[in-house]
Structures are given as structure tokens and as C-alpha cells.
């Protein structure tokens, strides 16, 4: 959670595609891997506010996305090459670091046993379920705290204190209260998803431009109508940024849940392989977590781009 902490407090950063636009003349400087780094601080930066609106739009349309994506694969390819070379040269023992082809074989083996997609499937299911629950609760509570001064004063300190508790700390308690079945894992993921959404939504709604709100009121809007017409749309880019952050955090909390008490899933694969000395499977699990997490984030980035186009 700590690496996302600062970003959750500052949802107004530049989305990665705007950063691309800034260096649009030289696409080579904007490698695709950049998106992962920037994903911590996406948000509303008024893409067209700088120069002419038309030019900003044209540059963001990303006609050169193909080459950029390929460039982003350069570093992973280099890493695999280094991995291949170092294991072949005997820098590491196979127990410390098995060669890439062993990890690949381990994957094939798991597919043949029918466990590969089972692990992925159950982990994905836990993430999506927990994420949905946590995000909805985060939206609701964040809206409450962001819109009502009273709720803010009443609840914000308590929620803030709970937020300070790391995900792992919940695992024993959840196992005791809810048991070691699916519920406790989904709950933990939901906890992980809740806080980024809650924080960004509350902050975004609290900081909606007071002048816009007054203009809305001056034109006869109030209550729910004001919320739907002015406040929510104004908060939209930050809300989506929070939702994206929460999805990333869901994957982090998933591993915490599966490490301690489970019989399936990528976290289980990790801990089970450790117990059996299968370093190849451990590495496979980590690669899968990285790929799945990044895939989820990339899909979300597309959604986010649309939302930013629509609501800014």
C-alpha cells in the first residue's frame, strides 16, 4: 500500500497519455513501460488547457501506439536475455534461479495437469469480486464523507486510522471471523480496493470547484440534481483514477490473502512451491501476477482515457 500512498493523496497528476503528448515529437522517449509508473498518479490535468485544444487532441490520439508498445517490450526482453545468460553461465544455481526454459516447462506442466488456468481463474475471480465490493463501498462512503461536513468530522479520522493498518495484518483476524474460505479472501481484496477509492472520491468531491457549484445553485440546482449535474461529473476524472489505483491494489492484497490460507490461486502456488522447493513455479507465479496486473491496468487505462475525454 505504501507505494500508492502518495498517489492516492494527489489524484490530480497528469495521466500517462498526456505525458506522451508532452513528448509527442519524439515518441521514442515515451516508452510504454512509462504507463505503469504514471498509473500511480492519473487524473485531471486539463489535457487541452495548455496550448490549442485541437493540437492536444490530435497528439493524444496515439496513432503511433504500435511502435511505442514494441519499445516497451525492449526492457522485458533484455531482462529475459540477461536471465537466460546468467543461468546458462552458471552465475546462479537452478535452485536459486532456474533458467527461463524451466519456468516455461513448469507452465506447460501445470497446464497439462489442469491447474494453470484454475489458479489464474480463482485468483482473477477473487480480485474482481473483492474489487467490485470494495469499490462500491469506497464510492458510497467516499461520497458521504466528501459531501457532508458532519460525516467527514465523524468518520474520516476512524477510516484514516484503519487505512494505516497494512493488509497482511487483517489476515489472521479475517480467518478467525470469516473462516479460511473464499469469503475471507474476497473480503481482504475488498479492503484493499476500498481505501484508494474512498480517499480519492472523498477528496475529489470535497474539492469540486466552489464557483461551479455556486453557478449550479444560481441556476436553480440543488440536492441530488446538483450532485448529478455538477459535483459528480467534476469529480469523475479523480474517481476513475482512484478506481484504477484500487484495481492495482486489489492484486497486491490478493497475494496477501492467498499466501496464508488457501488451496488454490497464484498466491497459493507461490507459497506451496516454496514449501516444495520449486523455484521454477515460484517465478512462474510472480511472472503471472505481473502480467495479469499489468493487463488489468492497461485495460483500465483505455477506459480512463475515454472518461477523461468525456468529462474534461
Amino acid at each position: 500500500m505504501s507505494q500508492h500512498h502518495s498517489a492516492a493523496g494527489a489524484p490530480e497528476g497528469a495521466p500517462d497519455d498526456v505525458t506522451h503528448a508532452g513528448s509527442g515529437a519524439a515518441p521514442g522517449t515515451a516508452a510504454h513501460g512509462h504507463a505503469t509508473v504514471a498509473s500511480g498518479a492519473p487524473g485531471a490535468a486539463g489535457p487541452g488547457s495548455g496550448t490549442g485544444p485541437g493540437s492536444g487532441r490530435a497528439r493524444r490520439s496515439g496513432r503511433r501506439r504500435g511502435p511505442v508498445v514494441l519499445l516497451g517490450l525492449l526492457v522485458p526482453a533484455a531482462l529475459v536475455a540477461a536471465w537466460f545468460w546468467s543461468t546458462a553461465a552458471g552465475v546462479f544455481t537452478p535452485v536459486q534461479l532456474p533458467p527461463p526454459q524451466d519456468v516455461f516447462t513448469a507452465a506447460i506442466d501445470l497446464i497439462e495437469r489442469g491447474q494453470f488456468f484454475q489458479h489464474i481463474g480463482i485468483s482473477t475471480q477473487r480480485v474482481l469480486l473483492g474489487y467490485a465490493i470494495g469499490a462500491i463501498l469506497g464510492l458510497a462512503v467516499g461520497a458521504l464523507v466528501g459531501l457532508s461536513r458532519l460525516s467527514d468530522v465523524l468518520f474520516a479520522p476512524t477510516i484514516g486510522a484503519f487505512r494505516a493498518v497494512t493488509g497482511l495484518a487483517w489476515v489472521p483476524l479475517l480467518a478467525l471471523w470469516i473462516g479460511i474460505g473464499e469469503d475471507s479472501k474476497v473480503t481482504l481484496v475488498a479492503i484493499g480496493a476500498f481505501f484508494p477509492v474512498y480517499t480519492t472520491v472523498a477528496a475529489a468531491l470535497r474539492h469540486v470547484d466552489a464557483q461551479l457549484v455556486e453557478a449550479g445553485r444560481a441556476f436553480g440546482l440543488g440536492g441530488v440534481k446538483l450532485l448529478l449535474t455538477v459535483q459528480l461529473p467534476a469529480a469523475m476524472p479523480s474517481v476513475v483514477a482512484g478506481l484504477r489505483l484500487a484495481l492495482a491494489q486489489s492484486w497486491l492484497f490478493l497475494v496477501a490473502a492467498e499466501l496464508l490460507a488457501s488451496s488454490m490461486g497464484l498466491g497459493f502456488l507461490l507459497i506451496d512451491s516454496q514449501n516444495n522447493g520449486r523455484t521454477d513455479r515460484m517465478i512462474l507465479a510472480i511472472v503471472l501476477l505481473a502480467v495479469l496486473g499489468k493487463l488489468c491496468d492497461s485495460v483500465f487505462a483505455l477506459v480512463q482515457k475515454r472518461v477523461l475525454d468525456r468529462w474534461t
Binding site: E214, G220, L221, P233
Partner: protein, 269 residues
């Protein structure tokens, strides 16, 4: 308005029903700080009234009190003889900043001004007319970030007009615009007023702007040794619009108003 051209405060309250806007002994304080004191004004329907004054003289505050965006500490504000409500539906406000919703198109921003109970089809026709009036028909589908500052102000004006207000309140609507756009906006305001003659009250710190546009000019300012600003004088030029800067009355009133604002021009003394 000729009967009110002297010192405000001396005017009687007998005409409350025929006046569009009537302020009686209005004062406004923020905690211990008095902004306005004893403001009494009567503005007949369909007049264009300018409120001028040095910065910090409570011009915007006065406008906000008339529109029901703030409530007075003392006195009463009436429109057509009835007290002003919070965010009064009879008023429409165009702010100093355009304050458009960035995610809505120009047309949809104008639509925000339509009365809540407006029929949908009629509303659309009305938006079309207003966009035509302010010359933004071809920008109807643009978003605020895609148009210029002057266009945004025109959108803001159209949004206010969409409310078909009895009182149109403009808070330094042209302040942020360049000189040329500003002149065009002056003409636009007069055109709009000719097409749909509502009562217009606008705040400006520009004496020339007030003299070009207004039937009546209200000068707000502080009196020696007393807290808060009040009406120092009201002036109603007799010259017909469009008014020439070289007209003797224009020059005379300009000096009079500047003097009231505490500006002595050596070049024109």
C-alpha cells in the same frame, strides 16, 4: 429614473411596486467587517444600470445580494415588490469568470440556464435562438476548452438569458476580455437588451464602459469616517445610445464619476 438622480437615500419608497428592483437600507457585514451600509436604490424595469466603485467597495457583494446569492445583514431587497429568495429564480447571474461546466458543450451549458420546468422541445428552440443571438451557433457542439475567453463569456451570457430573467445580473462580465472583444461585447449587450428588454444590472470598474452602456450609473464608495460603502451618487446620462466619447456631457460625466472614485486626471483637469 430621473427622480432618483440625486443622493440615494433621499428617494421615497412609494414606488416599490412599479420598480423592478428595490433595495431599502441594505447593509452587509461579514463578521465584524462592514462591506455595505444603508444602500437604498430603486431601479425601474428594463433599465440598464451600472454599479461602479473602487475595488473593495462592495460592488459584487451588492449584486450578489440582489440575486439572492448572499443575504443582507440589514434592510430588504425586493424584486417586483416581493422579497428576494435564496438563488432567486427571477434573476440570472453571469459571473466574472464564465464558470461553464467543462464537460458540457456550449449548447448544453446554455441549457443549464433554462427554467427547470421548461418543455424540452421549446427549450431546444430557445437554445438555438440564444446561440444565434450571441453568435455561437456554429460552436454549439464545442466544449469550453475549445473556445476563446470571449466566446465563453458569450456562452455565460446566453446561459443567463436562457432563464428569461426579470433581472439580469452581470458581475464584471467583460473584465477579463481584451479591448476589442470587450467593445464587441458592449454592442452585443445592447443588442440583447433591445431584443429582450429585461432589467440589467452590471458591475464594472470601468467608467467609460458604464457611460457607454448604462441608463443609470450608481457610484459606490466609502464616506469619510464611516465603515462600509454606500451609494455616493447616481448619474443618468441624457445622451441617447450609441453614445459618443466626444460629447460634452460624456466628458463632463466622466470627470464627475472619476472624481467620485477619487481619481483626479491631470490631463483632463
Amino acid at each position: 429614473m430621473t427622480e432618483h438622480t440625486g443622493q440615494a437615500g433621499t428617494s421615497s419608497a412609494h414606488s416599490a411596486t412599479q420598480d423592478a428592483v428595490a433595495l431599502r437600507a441594505v447593509g452587509k457585514s461579514f463578521s465584524a467587517h462592514t462591506v455595505l451600509r444603508d444602500v437604498t436604490l430603486q431601479i425601474p424595469a428594463r433599465r440598464i444600470v451600472a454599479i461602479i466603485g473602487a475595488s473593495g467597495s462592495g460592488k459584487s457583494t451588492l449584486l450578489r445580494l440582489i440575486g439572492g446569492l448572499d443575504t443582507p445583514t440589514d434592510g430588504a431587497v425586493n424584486i417586483d415588490g416581493r422579497a428576494v429568495a435564496q438563488y432567486d429564480p427571477r434573476c440570472a447571474f453571469a459571473f466574472q469568470e464564465a464558470r461553464l461546466l467543462p464537460w458540457r458543450t456550449v449548447a448544453d451549458n446554455v441549457a443549464l440556464g433554462l427554467p427547470r420546468d421548461e418543455d424540452r422541445a421549446r427549450g431546444r428552440t430557445r437554445i438555438g435562438e440564444l446561440l444565434e443571438l450571441v453568435g455561437l451557433t456554429e460552436f454549439a457542439g464545442h466544449k469550453p476548452k475549445e473556445i476563446s475567453g470571449g466566446m465563453a463569456q458569450r456562452t455565460s451570457l446566453a446561459r443567463a438569458l436562457a432563464r428569461t430573467p426579470s433581472v439580469l445580473l452581470l458581475d464584471e462580465p467583460f473584465g477579463a476580455l481584451d479591448a476589442l472583444t470587450r467593445l464587441r461585447m458592449h454592442d452585443l449587450l445592447l443588442d440583447v437588451h433591445a431584443a429582450e428588454p429585461t432589467t440589467v444590472i452590471f458591475v464594472t470598474h470601468d467608467v467609460d464602459e458604464a457611460l457607454v452602456l448604462a441608463d443609470t450609473i450608481v457610484v459606490l464608495g466609502k464616506e469619510e469616517g464611516r465603515p462600509g460603502a454606500t451609494v455616493l451618487q447616481t448619474v443618468s446620462p441624457s445622451q441617447q445610445r450609441p453614445r459618443s466619447h466626444s460629447d460634452p456631457e460624456f466628458t463632463r460625466l466622466r470627470q464627475q464619476l472619476l472624481a467620485a472614485l477619487g481619481v483626479q486626471l491631470r490631463s483632463e483637469a
